[in-house]
Amino acid sequence: MNITQMSCPMPQLDFEVITLGHGSGGILTNKLLESGVFDLLKNPLLDQKHDGAIFRLDGQLAFSTDSYVISPIFFPNSNIGELAINGTVNDLSMCGAIPKYLSLSFIIEEGLTMKEFWEILVAIKFTAEKAGVQIVTGDTKVVERGKGDKIFINTSGIGVIHPKANINIKNVKTGDKIIISGHIATHGIAIMSVREGLEFETSIESDTQHLNFVIKELLDEFGNNIHLLRDPTRGGVATVLNEIARDAKLGCDIIQSQIPVLEEVEGACELLGLDPLYVANEGVFMAIVAAEVADNILKKLKSIPNFEHSACIGEVVAEHPKQVVLKSKIGGKRVVNMLVGEQLPRIC
């Protein structure tokens, strides 16, 4: 069951719409939070209702933060709430960490309905539960109408580094294989399909999912043979590969025919004039792994539900340092550059 099918009854409230007062810190703020936010997300640390959460964690830690400003806030198969949890969980996972605790902050534009807010909260609750993380501190602010875009969410998270993990760009070396964990560009195109002025009918749904369990399984088994993990969100696969090539001072060769893209996503990209390599992903990760274990990692990944379409898309090479080169389906070669600004729809 996906997150949009889950529900919790909304409490009876004497307001339907969130107003400036709900961010004042006074009675209305309390009303909003006590109305169900705390109940919905409850856990012993949050229940302290203190200025911050106080806890103990042992081992090496990872700390990450991200803000979510997506428009529209509801999109096929998911919403901004799920994204905000998965996003930070995944960023921690890419550090080789087991995500533990999250903070959660809202900047709400006056006028957001309580029903919409509730739906987002429910998604947050279930996503956090599924990912096995706790929301232990948070904040809510309300801004005037026109000063925001319905709702912005920031989450930060802390995780404990997996004992076998050694994720570092310095470990990337010539001959390493580049593995992608699933179809690319699906999330970005799902968002496009519901964006104002561009609505088109499609069954494409966002692929957002938490990646922490699969990463833990891989680290358990393959440990420091996994040299680098990245989730190609904004800027897509091409941008992340360029960052890797730049920082490792090595080249990346990728083979277009090996890159998994759903047929309908590829079709939508053709029509919209977008290159799937630059379109955002939310439930996909890239792993740069030692060549000798690449096949086993791929075999393992393919046996895990939701990762059946993972593929080895290329390798790290000594030639053309700091450049990503794609072998096209018809056998030509071209450079894949970093994305400049936003990808823009074209004239014809």
């Binding site: 004039g273 389906k329 018809i330 056998g331 070669k333 450079v335 823009l344 074209r346 004239i347 014809c348």
Partner: protein
Amino acid sequence: MKFISEYRNPEVVEQYINEIHKITTQNWTIMEVCGGQTHSLVKNGILNILPSKITMVHGPGCPVCVTPLNLIDKAVYLALNKGVIMCTFGDMIRVPGSEKSLLEAKAFGADVRILYSPLEAVKIAQENPDKQVVFFAVGFETTAPANALSVLHAKRLGLNNYSILASHVLVPPAIEAVMNDDTARIQGFLAAGHVCTIMGISDYQPIVEKYQIPIVVTGFEPVDLLHGILMVVKQLENGEKKLENQYSRVVKPEGNPEAIKVINEVFETQDREWRGIGTIPMSGWEVKSTLTEFDANKKFAINIAKAPECAECIAGLVLKGIKKPYECSQFGKNCTPEKPLGAPMVSSEGACAAYFHYANVEAV
């Protein structure tokens, strides 16, 4: 993906490549007119698998690139100073004006919206009766029917807050301009398939005869392009000068009569300034004088002095096929998609952007 994958089939590509290699005995210079074709050639790495005897020269078929600087300044002015909702295709938004691009104008508070269809702009006009809505109608013959339709639609709805800032250019006069330029020694053309889908192919026969040059109407996928190149080379090797249609699955000889009718209802042919190239006689479409209320150029009294072009930018030479993008001293240095000096560096059909983004490894 059906209807596309077969035109990207590696085996078919290889067959065409082999055949081109087999029949090519002399040096030939061929121009692909359309920027979409340029991008496909570079993006798919076709340029480095063609015989070295064949030189592909990239043509002026990038509507964004040839839109006059002054018109971009007008669009920016309307959006920033007249409070209009400026609607545009995505390509136009980063093209540098003399002071600002539309994207920069947006950051300064202008209401600039990227649309896929001009009919969306009419919808925006309906929803914002107290605002003037302008669609920046840029394009070759391909986009003209939709732009014309938006005017007819707005007229039908009785809207008085919708107009278009038209910059419509035509392919056949541009081919003639290239042929009349002594420095460009083109021996054969790949004509732009999608333009011919609208207009048909009859306009090209007189050019074939006048200049004694092969023209092959060609599509955009790798197989199409290689097939088109093969057809041109075959003619050149055999000393033939014919008009041929490679893209017959899409292009009917008569074009699309319905679309042509709509165009004729809204536009009339006039002399037109092409950025970087100059004025080409009877090479553009303007909104008819009977429809001035839908012509943003006439509706708003915009008088903006013509700003000088950037002195270092050689866009004109690139557009005429005289220089390759990488022969420009600014290419990739002072001129990049983030900070472009000229339009070909930002348009999705611009030759400079194609080389910057995709240039094959050997060329960089």
